[in-house]
């Protein structure tokens, strides 16, 4: 379980998060939606200690990770996989080496086991046969799939997704959504997905949190979000800016 309590983050003179409270239950997929620049990715990075808050608490499986240094965070990070917006694949390594990286770092040395687990992870994300390619030779969607394979190979209990469908065409986005859902069923992990793509949110979410002006404005089920009559939420879901052509 991931718990966020009164999380405040100031960056320079700007207060990005103004007291976020959130609870992600075991095994559920919580989607955090909100407009670009509202602090969704900043919130996500706090969940794995990549950013330290100005104040507040982040608890992963009951352990407060705020204030821990990089080395103390290592144990927590082994339990959490993260898919970065651009994939963040190591560009000097092949697909296979990228996917095997977490295992090698965990001390797995047996070539047969490495091969078996890498092949398995690459197969889960439907990329069989691409192991020898370099990240540069892959499309955006394939890169995200490889990054996802790298995130799940260490068998994390939590997976964080930062804008998994941003920059992808609708068909690839749909396949990524299905993939997230499939992983959810297969691995039974706790997931947090940050996105502004409502189609993706409706597809993968068990619950949705709407982040607005640095706070959680709405938290509830997909059905509750769909049924909402709040103009602020309706404008966001339907993509209305309030501007006219005149």
């Amino acid at each position: 379980m991931i718990t966020v309590r009164n999380l405040v983050k100031r960056m320079g003179s700007q207060e990005v998060l103004k007291g976020v409270d959130l609870e992600v239950h075991d095994g559920e997929t919580l989607v955090v939606v909100g407009r670009s620049g509202c602090g969704k990715s900043v919130l996500l990075r706090h969940l794995v200690g990549l950013l330290q808050p100005t104040s507040g608490e982040v608890l992963v499986d009951g352990e407060n990770i705020v204030g821990l240094d990089e080395r103390q965070l290592a144990a927590i990070r082994r339990k959490v996989g993260i898919l970065f917006q651009g994939g963040a694949l190591f560009d000097s390594m092949t697909v296979e080496e990228n996917v095997a990286f977490p295992l090698r770092e965990q001390g797995v040395r047996d070539p047969a086991e490495l091969r078996r687990r890498v092949d398995e992870a690459i197969e889960v994300v439907d990329l069989a046969g691409t192991g020898a390619k370099m990240p540069d030779a892959l499309s955006g969607g394939m890169r995200k799939r490889v990054a996802l394979a790298r995130s799940i190979i260490g068998s994390p209990s939590h997976i964080l997704y930062d804008e998994p469908t941003t920059g992808l065409d609708p068909v690839v986005s749909d396949s990524i959504n299905h993939l997230i859902r499939r992983l959810q069923k297969r691995l039974r992990v706790t997931s947090v997905v940050v996105t502004h793509d409502m189609k993706s949110a409706f597809h993968v979410a068990d619950r949705v949190a709407y982040l607005h002006e640095g706070k959680i404005y709405f938290l509830g089920s997909v059905d509750a979000l769909r049924a909402s009559t709040d103009p602020q939420i309706l404008d966001f879901i339907e993509g209305r800016s309030g501007e006219t052509d005149e």
Binding site: R45, F84, L89, D91
Partner: protein, 260 residues
């Protein structure tokens, strides 16, 4: 008033930068005891830093030695001191020219590459990915590079010195007609192992400057291609200045150490 404000700002900036380097140095030092440095990566970095810098260092040493021998000969010849060319070239190459020029060449070649590689990893979130995979960037990126430069630099300095002296011999004896026996006997009489050691020790410390400054510039690169470009440029400038400044203090200390 403007000038004072400018100088004050620059001084504060330089102090903050020096402080950041010290903090990085502390982290690196601590990593040797509490971290898990990736020793296996060191040979690949030695190949990149050391082996691939050999040609540039040999050419630098050879032409510096050749020019220095020629210039010294033209001045000393007037005084009938042709045979002093050997020791002057050898001592200069060992104590100053070898280590400083090697340092500057390696700072240009390796420092820029190091900072832009790490900077690119930073702006493309690869360093965050490392951190998220529970791998400390100091253990994985900085220490292997630092140790590779620390091992490579004294060897490169030795190479530079050797080629400088060899080309000095060639220019002095074969081109300008100095008697080989006088050249060699004076060279051996006035050049000591302490001169060579001074150059190698300087190279070792210059290597630390290059690696720490370049890694720091990479790790703190600002977003985007411009940020990476700036990191590479400023890594070369800062390492080169660092080498020249630290060279002065090393000269004072090492002269005291080796004369004791």
């Amino acid at each position: 008033m403007m000038l004072i404000r400018y100088l004050g700002r620059r001084t504060l900036g330089a102090s903050a930068y020096a402080g950041a380097l010290v903090l990085l140095g502390r982290e690196i030092f601590a990593a040797f005891f509490v971290g898990q440095p990736r020793w296996k990566l060191i040979p690949a970095h030695i190949l990149d830093v050391g082996a691939r810098s050999q040609l540039v260092v040999m050419v630098t040493g050879a032409f510096t030695g050749a020019v220095f021998a020629a210039q010294t000969f033209f001045q000393f010849h007037e005084l009938g001191m042709d045979s002093a060319v050997g020791p002057v070239v050898a001592i200069s190459m060992c104590r100053e020219l070898g280590p400083v020029l090697t340092g500057l060449m390696v700072a240009g070649r390796v420092g820029a590459a190091m900072s832009s590689e790490i900077g690119t990893m930073k702006v493309t979130e690869q360093i965050d990915a490392l951190r998220a995979l529970a791998v400390h960037p100091i253990d994985y990126l900085v220490i292997p590079r630092l140790l590779a430069v620390m091992v490579s630099m004294p060897l490169l300095v030795g190479l530079c010195i050797a080629f400088g002296i060899l080309s000095g011999y060639f220019v002095g004896v074969k081109l300008l007609g100095i008697q080989s026996a006088y050249f060699m006997s004076n060279l051996l009489a006035f050049t000591d192992w302490s001169d060579v050691m001074m150059g190698l020790v300087k190279g070792f410390f210059f290597g630390i400057v290059i690696a720490v400054v370049s890694c720091h510039k990479g790790l703190t690169a600002a977003e985007g291609a411009v940020g990476v470009g700036r990191a590479a440029t400023s890594a070369v400038v800062a390492s080169s200045l660092g080498i020249l400044i630290i060279n002065f203090f090393l000269t004072l200390v090492l002269n005291f150490v080796f004369s004791a």
